[in-house]
């Protein structure tokens, strides 16, 4: 099982999930220069929204019917929370010192965690994880690589979402307006662009991608929990910085690089002489953040940081 192609594949699956979440960080940052630290919780509510829809459906329903409904439900919840957060938490603070929206984001993050925790709390149940339904087929074997059923969803959903986003940003009128708003919001208004609307769209797209990632997480790990957004959110933020914050291609690339680095380090670092006690999954976040520190030290603009210099 511990072959190199298998580890590479594991890293890519994990990385595309990070990348989906990272899109939300990077789009919002690109347009309003805000790090929405509640975005990890938006990912989490996406997963729980999908689970709630599943539980509301009749028992024994086929996952082929349930999954689209779960996706829509999860996306609806995540997009509403993301857009609501923008409207009621962040918009009133636009123009306030940077620290104010940051603290608001952390507060929102805790509030969402606790709200979901209480909502799904079962008396006498100390565990926070809730079982998530699985796709009705076993692992696929492609040569030496085994693909779990949950990862199959990711392999299809992540590239599809990314391609759709790239086309949207490059080719649509709204996408062009987003680019303009990201580069110069005041001047974008002078062109007749309603920048408030563009900001709402950025939050909504981020929320939708986070929901797809939330469903992926449930399918991949078999459960969702109220605190799953904390670490996943931090790692996705790392991925966004790694790729070059503000750059949507960077977010996806950063996610993949981070996922592969984590998988490789987890699998192989223990083989390095003298480092045998550093192997295993519990060290994975350490490698992710070591990578973040290295990027911030040596390439702070990220892998795909903006290339064209602005001339004054």
């Amino acid at each position: 099982m511990n072959t190199l192609p298998q580890q590479l594949a594991n890293g890519l699956f994990l990385g595309s999930m990070y990348g989906l979440i990272a899109i939300g960080y990077t789009m919002v940052y690109g347009i309003v220069q805000l790090i929405n630290f509640a975005h990890g919780e938006i990912f989490m509510t996406g997963g729980f929204g999908a689970l709630t829809v599943y539980l509301a459906l009749p028992d024994g329903i086929s996952m082929w019917i349930a999954l689209p409904a779960m996706l829509i439900g999860g996306a609806l919840v995540a997009v509403l929370i993301a857009v609501g957060a923008e409207r009621f938490a962040y918009r009133p603070l636009r123009g306030a010192p940077r620290l104010a929206p940051l603290i608001t984001a952390i507060g929102l993050s805790l509030a969402l965690q606790q709200a979901v925790f209480n909502w799904y709390h079962v008396d006498g149940d100390a565990k926070s994880a809730r079982v998530f339904p699985q796709l009705p087929f076993g692992p696929l074997h492609l040569g030496s690589v085994t693909v779990q059923s949950g990862d199959v969803f990711l392999i299809i959903a992540a590239p599809l979402c990314m391609a759709a986003l790239a086309f949207f940003v490059r080719l649509s009128r709204t996408g062009r307006a987003m680019q303009a708003t990201a580069q110069d919001p005041d001047t974008a208004q002078l062109m007749g662009i309603d920048t408030n609307r563009i900001i709402v769209i950025a939050f909504a797209i981020g929320g939708f991608f986070a929901a797809v990632a939330g469903v992926s997480y449930g399918l991949k790990y078999g459960s969702v929990s109220y605190d799953m957004g904390f670490l996943a959110g931090l790692k996705a933020f790392t991925a966004a910085v790694l790729g070059g914050i503000g750059n949507i291609y960077g977010a996806m690339l950063g996610g993949l690089v981070l996922g592969v680095a984590e998988a490789m380090a987890t699998a192989y670092i223990a083989d390095v002489p003298g480092m045998h006690q550093l192997g295993g999954g519990s060290w994975a976040p350490v490698w992710a953040f070591v990578l973040l520190i290295l990027v911030l030290l040596f390439r702070p603009q990220g892998l795909l940081g903006e290339r064209v210099a602005d001339r004054a």
Partner: protein, 238 residues
């Protein structure tokens, strides 16, 4: 006939500091009107208020018969007021063509837009030659041409130009001023803010001299050009 733009007792403040302290002026259709004055006189603040980027503390702005109070910036463009901002502010990572297309963001007539892009290239051939290049790679003068071309793309009733000659070489400055003269001869209504008072007044039908937030002197371009105090203060004569 009422003026295309009427500004009455306009006041604008940044926090407690009042930058524009009750100015009034008007722009008739077909005219070139210039605001001149030193740094900090409130000229740019005035333009940014007219285009809706800043909110006035009091006063009235009536454009094409409609009061602009409370109208957000992105809707003011739709009324026919275009603003080429100080410092050019082209979109650096978009191409020249994309910048021009954004200038026509609210228009739906595809063919008309194409025609107007071609007209911008006729007006500024260098932009046509480099149409696919990222705008951030252009020289300052070329960026200024792009900013003006972009502002024209909305087919404005009034074109506001803020410091179009700022930071340009003398040759480039002449080119820009010649272009403004050409636009004027085509009947474009222009509100021009300039530190280069000589050039601006030579072009202008009307001029207003601003000092620390107030209009201290108004007259025709020619009158101001020959006014002794203006010559001393702004044209560098003793």
């Amino acid at each position: 006939m009422t003026a295309l733009l009427e500004v009455e007792d306009l006041r604008v403040a940044y926090g407690k500091i009042e930058a524009v302290k009750g100015i009034s002026f008007s722009v008739e259709a077909g005219q070139v009107v210039t605001l001149i004055g030193t740094n900090g006189a409130g000229k740019t603040t005035t333009l940014r208020t007219l285009s809706g980027l800043l909110k006035p503390t009091s006063g009235r702005i009536v454009f094409d018969g409609k009061p602009l109070s409370g109208v957000p910036a992105h809707k003011i463009v739709a009324l026919g007021l275009a603003h080429s901002p100080e410092g050019r502010h082209i979109f650096p990572r978009l191409s020249i063509t994309e910048n021009l297309q954004l200038g026509a963001f609210l228009r739906k007539d595809k063919e008309g837009i194409e025609k107007d892009i071609q007209r911008a290239y006729d007006l500024f051939p260098i932009l046509g030659e480099r149409r696919k290049q990222a705008a951030g790679t252009l020289s300052g003068g070329e960026q200024q041409m792009l900013a003006m071309g972009r502002a024209l793309m909305s087919r404005p009733k009034l074109l506001m130009l803020d410091e179009p000659s700022m930071g340009l070489s003398p040759i480039m400055m002449q080119k820009i001023m010649a272009t403004i003269a050409e636009l004027k001869s085509q009947g474009t209504t222009i509100l021009l803010v300039e530190q280069n008072a000589q050039a601006a007044l030579s072009l202008a039908d009307q001029g207003h001299v601003m000092e620390v937030g107030t209009v201290v002197l108004s007259g025709t371009g020619q009158d101001l050009l020959h006014d002794e105090s203006v010559r001393k203060a702004y044209l560098g004569e003793d």
